[in-house]
Symmetry: C2
Subunit: 147 residues, 2 copies
């Protein structure tokens, strides 16, 4: 199911937070967005609707674990979820904690920046990532369905 | 559960395709993106994780119906799914058929345009929307869970 030309088949794609059989969670390296995660499906499928119902449920349950951990630990202004895959058509869900002080808020992270980096605020988020990721990894491991 | 200041509580938000008890489907009016739909949750909740597991399943099953109808009728290059809500924090899922000729592809629809409108291609999509929406409405009606 792996494609030699696909960067999410051949590489991790970021900092690994959790590795399961059917999916992994990585922290993306997106400047200005420290709490930007990607839930990457292991098999190379392009669309969410390529998954069967059980796998769609599993996938969204995993997204929900990440979202809840972000809310609990970071109290973001908003959570943003998206699966686009126009450039890398290998199923991955963006799970992003957004803050009213971030460079793009309330625009999407893919739009133009509206202001500069708030380094003090960024630092406050960054120090909370380790405990947030521990909650994510424990939650994903306890799902017990990805074998 | 409705908020007087919320445009998705006080208005439909687009062209109504299907109205259920727990959600509705609307076609958005986004220039250059004729096959841009929004699955709007009826109750005013901000985050996907505000829903319980049964409602999250129902919501994503509905998104899946819309996605599959778009794939079947329009053969898009890619489907894009997102719930952002930074401006209107009332749960709604964007379900967007993307084409390699559209103004922004492969960028997200929220990024800068990369090219002009392809009117001939747009017209080919627009004439297929009615049968696609019939498939969506029938599929959503037959889910039988939103009462």
């Amino acid at each position: 199911m792996a494609h030699a030309a696909c960067p999410l088949c051949t590489g991790v794609g970021g900092t690994l937070v959790f590795q399961g059989r059917k999916f992994r969670l990585i922290r993306a390296e997106e400047a200005g967005f420290p709490a930007f995660y990607r839930l990457v499906w292991t098999d190379h499928v392009a669309e969410f609707s390529d998954l069967d119902e059980a796998d769609r449920s599993l996938c969204m349950a995993a997204v929900n674990v990440v979202e809840r951990a972000l809310r609990e630990h970071l109290q973001p202004t908003k959570i943003n979820l998206a699966t686009l895959g126009n450039v890398v058509p290998h199923l991955h869900w963006h799970v992003i904690a957004r803050f009213d002080w971030d460079t793009h808020f309330p625009s999407p992270v893919w739009a133009a920046a509206l202001r500069g980096l708030e380094l003090t605020h960024l630092q406050e988020v960054i120090v909370r990532l380790a405990p947030a990721e521990q909650t994510m990894a424990l939650g994903l491991a306890s799902m017990g369905k990805q074998g």
